[in-house]
């Protein structure tokens, strides 16, 4: 019969299908692999150090003779740098999002937005040295007691790095607020500021929050800047002027050092990695849910 398919064609299609499947699941398998290794190595770690100790001990000295395995000082360092970064990025990012979405002309937006997004494309090692060699000396002129390595300058620079994340995603969220809502607001005699902040901003709120959460998650996971400019002293302090250490910076420190493979000290980095993974996973899930909620709102 004329319509009968040649067997070779069927085989070819099957082959192509399998190939496509393989490629698309490559990243899924990789993720799974990472999670399994993280789980396995942290499991080994927590056989020797109790989770309770890990979460409550206030000292982190796995590389000293007197060993303590309390994650709190590292968490605190991560929290502090992230907090400073958000304090910088939130106002700047949101104000520029409002400006780009509600005030700027199409032409200006077409120029400014890509330039802002370039900020996100700068290698973070450059930011790290920018913090260490430019921002810290600058801040020292204002705060003479500032240490050479500190949470403040790395936090500020990290904030600059995540501005485009907040401004760009928030702007997208605000722009997708339907024009009809703006018209409704103008029609009852709003001025532009009122439309922006009382109608568009609340209307885009879930998208904006989702962008902020993503930015936080990015700041928590950021490594190079803090490894270079924040110091390597795990300290349970909220003082931004002294050297501290974040979870990520600790992982770098151990990975680059001569800690023997398979030891407890070596496994600390997996416990740290697991902690980071859990935090960012929760944040990303939260942000993803918000974003979906937001997409549904106007459909």
């Amino acid at each position: 019969m004329l319509l009968k398919r040649k067997p070779i064609l069927k085989l070819k299609e099957l082959f192509i299908e399998r190939l496509l499947f393989l490629f698309s699941f490559l990243s899924v398998f990789t993720t799974l692999g990472i999670i399994i290794i993280l789980l396995f190595e942290s499991f080994e770690f927590f056989k020797e150090v109790s989770i309770l100790k890990f979460l409550t001990d206030t000292q982190w000295t796995p590389l000293f003779i007197n060993k303590h395995f309390g994650i709190l000082p590292l968490l605190c360092g991560t929290f502090l740098t992230t907090l400073i970064a958000i304090c910088v990025a939130l106002p700047v990012g949101l104000v520029s999002a409002v400006y780009l979405s509600e005030y700027a002309s199409l032409k200006l937006r077409a120029i400014v937005k890509p330039i802002m997004e370039i900020l996100a494309a700068i290698p973070t090692v450059v930011y790290g040295y920018f913090a260490l060699l430019f921002v810290t000396p600058l801040l020292k002129k204002i705060i003479p007691s500032l240490s050479g390595f500190n949470a403040l300058s790395s936090g500020i620079v990290m904030g600059i790095m995540i501005i485009p994340l907040i401004s760009s995603l928030s702007e997208d969220a605000m722009r997708s607020v339907p024009m009809s809502l703006r018209e409704g607001a103008y029609a009852v005699g709003s001025n532009r500021l009122q439309v922006s902040f009382r109608v568009v901003f609340p209307g885009a709120l879930s998208g904006i929050i989702s962008s902020i959460v993503l930015a936080i998650s990015r700041a928590i996971g950021e490594t190079m800047i803090v490894a270079i400019a924040a110091g390597q002293q795990p300290k349970l302090t909220l003082n931004p002027f002294v050297p501290i250490e974040t979870i990520t910076a600790y992982i770098v420190q151990v990975s680059l050092g001569d800690t023997p493979y398979g030891t407890l000290e070596y496994r600390t980095i997996f416990a740290c990695g697991m902690t980071l993974f859990v935090i960012t996973f929760i944040l990303n899930t939260f942000s993803f849910k918000l974003k979906r909620h937001f997409l549904e709102a106007y459909e």
Binding site: L181, E183, G184, A185, Y186, A187, V188
Partner: protein, 256 residues
Amino acid sequence: MVENIQKPIFKIQNLSAFYGAKEVLRKININILSNSVTAIIGPSGCGKSTFVRSLNRINDLILNFRVQGKIFYHNKNIYDKDVDVVELRRKVGMVFQKPNPFPKSIYENIAYGLKIHNFIKKEMIDEIVEKSLKKAALWDEVKDNLKQNALSLSGGQQQRLCIARALAIEPEVILLDEPCSAIDPISTAKIEELIYELKKNYTIIIVTHNMQQAARVSDYTAFFLSGELIEFGKTEEVFKAPKDRRTEDYITGRFG
């Protein structure tokens, strides 16, 4: 033209409007009388929406939109440089084709227009919210759920909420841009009834695709075609004895 018993609230002279290079209104001359209902009819794309959207300058929001000619509102050209557009829009309210309540509570939707402009006491706002909802014939349906999100209302209720929102700031004129095109017949009937009520205190300009609706609710009718005003007069006369052949063709359903 129409005998001027009521005084004209809008005097429109040689109004042309453009989106970029495209001319959508050509030299419109028309007077809108106060405390009357004027219907604007015509086929899609004839410029009737653009016309009403020029009257409160809401079309300023559209890129590359511009007008020529003059629109006098109480003898002041609203396109003069020194016009306070915010004040104009508070006097000339608008209800859009698709209901567009804010994603806030029913109460907040109406209170919004009051809060942005003046410092008003909470009790005053409560009172105006109730009054506006009553005027828009929505009060009985929502009085127990004022905190409910406006988006949970039906389309017809949302549109009446938008009318209440427009009424809350006490405008003189209400522009209705095909207010019933996106809602069901029962809600449409309610809104038509409402227009009849509102006529006593407001000047109403309604764009409609629905000839029966124009005939039912309006005192005056303007027929637009391809950006031009073809005929304007008392609704009765326009529908019963149109002067222009094209008007007759349109209202008898020969095109459009």
